[in-house]
């Protein structure tokens, strides 16, 4: 799946986008956040408080208990500050 990062999530992880293939047991958004967090220092810092991270799948907001798509674009970002 394609991952895209925004704002301080992007800055802390150190990249805008990447393609990953998580293991089969990574089924939900929460699983993905936990799996990513163990991938290195930048990820650990970005996802330290995983509960505040907002997630979108294919341009739509999803909750942390949502199932991950087999393929598609998953975006991780901080709470939004538009308007």
């Amino acid at each position: 799946m394609k991952l895209v990062y925004f704002a301080w999530v992007r800055e802390r992880i150190g990249k805008e986008t990447e393609t990953v293939t998580p293991p089969g047991e990574v089924e939900t958004v929460a699983d993905l956040l936990a799996w990513l967090k163990a991938r290195g220092d930048g990820y650990a810092v970005a996802l330290e408080h995983a509960e505040v991270i907002r997630v979108a799948v294919d341009h739509e907001h999803v909750d942390h208990d949502a199932k991950l798509p087999a393929d598609g674009e998953v975006a991780l970002f901080p709470p939004m500050t538009g308007g």
């Binding site: 925004f6 739509e60 901080p78 500050t81 538009g82 308007g83």
Partner: protein, 156 residues
């Protein structure tokens, strides 16, 4: 609701012309009795802010604003609705966001514009970074709990 208006959504770097956007929803129409505009502008925080940088999620920004605008068009009898949100580096006094809601009567236009702004704040994928005067490193604006709570009053 029948005859729901088709909202116009634009996400762009360039500025917008408020008068032209009002004109777009009113020109040649005799049924529009109320036009409400909300313009969000970059403020200088008493001279402490040099610039605001707006990052956005291309594709999702348009899609999410479109979903919010469609919901507004469904909930209120609007004759027209336009939402324009800018991205990129903006200086104090520059425009950030515009909502134009037109309706036969004032209440629908006022409420729809208010609803739009509450949802844009917490649901549209934009992030503000403040660049302080004096050249110090920029910092991300933190989301306010009050903005999230503001959504509660629109839940049915």
């Amino acid at each position: 609701m029948k005859n729901r208006c088709q909202p116009l959504v634009r996400v762009q770097a360039e500025d917008f012309d408020i008068a032209a956007e009002i004109d777009r929803l009113t020109a040649g129409r005799k049924d529009v009795g109320a036009v409400v505009t909300f313009t969000g502008r970059c403020r200088d925080e008493d001279g402490k802010l040099a610039a605001l940088e707006l990052e956005h999620y291309p594709g999702m920004a348009e899609a999410e604003i479109g979903r919010i605008a469609s919901e507004a068009a469904e909930r209120w009898p609007l004759t027209g609705l336009t939402v324009i949100h800018r991205f990129g580096k903006l200086l104090p006094a520059e425009n950030i966001v515009l909502v134009v809601a037109a309706s036969t009567h004032r209440k629908a236009a006022l409420e729809a514009a208010d609803f739009l702004m509450d949802y844009l704040k917490s649901r549209a994928p934009f992030w503000k970074k403040e660049h302080p005067a004096g050249g110090d490193t920029g910092h991300w604006v933190e989301a306010k709990a009050a903005d999230e709570e503001a959504l509660g009053r629109w839940r049915k």
